[in-house]
Symmetry: C2
Subunit: 258 residues, 2 copies
């Protein structure tokens, strides 16, 4: 079943002296609870797409689930619950939690995650012709973004093609859906992520922890997003355009035509 | 003491065939704990400005503090703690919490808040000349936004002038600073709020609960942001420009020149 994720609304466009009716399209945000092994962990507003991916990615972002091997099954109940079943210790509980800044739907990370060491990334490089195709595929693929101006998109490019593209009302949720797809073994973790959102600490941290070596954004990173990229060795690209990248860390994974 | 909120970073701008060094400015996000009557409630990444306001507004957004009368004192410890002292019941604990979608730093609201009734708003209207001055003051006032592309701004206009303008790495945090300023009685709650961020559920909910009658954004609302505005009777304006507003609810508070 495909969920309905937008609704039309009549608005009034006002200028100092005119008044005109207009129809706008709104993105629908819906609250979902996320449960791990039948225990409620949290609840989040979400765009009702790729909910299995979101559930798994949400629990990764919060520190409950750590690898694809742990995730066994995800069931979505349309009444508003995503049930993730995973082979983890029952009392696994993240340490002190920080609500993250920036645009953060599922914006919580533990201090432990922020300060811990990183496993090696899944190495890869990307060429400019690939970057060109990747960014255009995302920008042209987002009908919902164009209609509502209220969603963020996140895609993963690997092995010469766009492997997945997800959207959500939250920039974090969109990244969580990519990470969930990796956890559910639908896409590889080696490759490049492109997000329309800003690269604050938690955004970069999630990608680094799952092993993604290249993280690109249409817009800017924060200081801590940058610091995490440096510690983890992630290639951090901001203001990414099809033919121009501003590389904040580890440019050696970007292959030029020279 | 004025905190340092940006840092410079050397980046490499790559095109398919060129490579050029460039300096970029990053917004600094810093983790702060927020305590209520010496009990730690949460922690959030924050831009180190207006931390007293942020602490009070954060606790309002989370449902711990409800009115200016309750807030007694806010102390900021530069090592990373904002201590709010308020006349509230010690065991006041929000009901089931939803992590909110969209760009949400302090993005948590309780289901109770989402479904509860609203107190009457603090009535006011705004004219087009006021809107013009309001929006230009905010757009021209944000040096930080221009430098970093990584902060959201939020301002409040009342009694014919810009009463306050705050910025933060998170769009929620910037609104929390405005709400905190109201709680600390630095600015009135009647008036119009303008935010550079999207109007998702929690953004509109916070403003409605503190009594702000007019909520404007540079960009779009979500479905639930709209639904809350309708239930609370808030004037909801999207895609706000100095001479053009797209009004999603209650246009009667916008005074035209006709």
């Amino acid at each position: 079943m495909k969920n309905i994720v937008t609704l039309a609304h009549e608005t009034v466009v006002l200028t100092p002296t005119t008044r005109e009716e207009q129809q706008e399209i709104l993105a629908i945000e819906t609250p979902y609870k996320i449960a791990l092994n039948d225990r409620d962990i949290g609840a989040s507003m979400v765009l009702e797409t790729a909910l299995e991916e979101f559930g798994a990615g949400f629990l990764f972002g919060q520190g409950y689930v750590r690898s694809p091997e742990e995730v066994k099954e995800v069931l979505v109940c349309p009444e508003g619950r995503i049930s993730v079943y995973a082979d983890v210790e029952e009392d696994a509980e993240p340490k002190e939690v920080i609500i993250t800044s920036g645009c953060g739907g599922t914006g919580k990370i533990s201090r432990e995650m922020l300060e811990g060491a990183f496993d090696p990334l899944q190495e890869c490089t990307i060429t400019f012709p690939e970057i060109h195709d990747f960014i255009l595929a995302i920008l042209h693929g987002s009908r919902l973004g164009h209609d509502t101006h209220c969603v963020h998109g996140c895609g993963l490019w690997a092995d010469g093609r766009l492997q997945a593209f997800y959207e959500d009302v939250g920039r974090h949720n969109a990244v969580d859906k990519i990470i969930g797809a990796i956890l559910l073994k639908k896409i590889p973790a080696r490759g490049a992520v492109y997000t329309t959102g800003r690269l604050t600490s938690d955004m970069v941290l999630k990608c680094a922890r799952i092993g993604i070596p290249i993280v690109m954004s249409r817009t800017a990173p924060s200081s801590l997003g940058m610091a995490i990229a440096r510690r983890a060795g992630v290639t951090l690209v901001a203001y990414a355009r099809p033919d121009r990248l501003n590389v904040f860390n580890a440019p050696e994974r970007i292959v030029q035509d020279i």
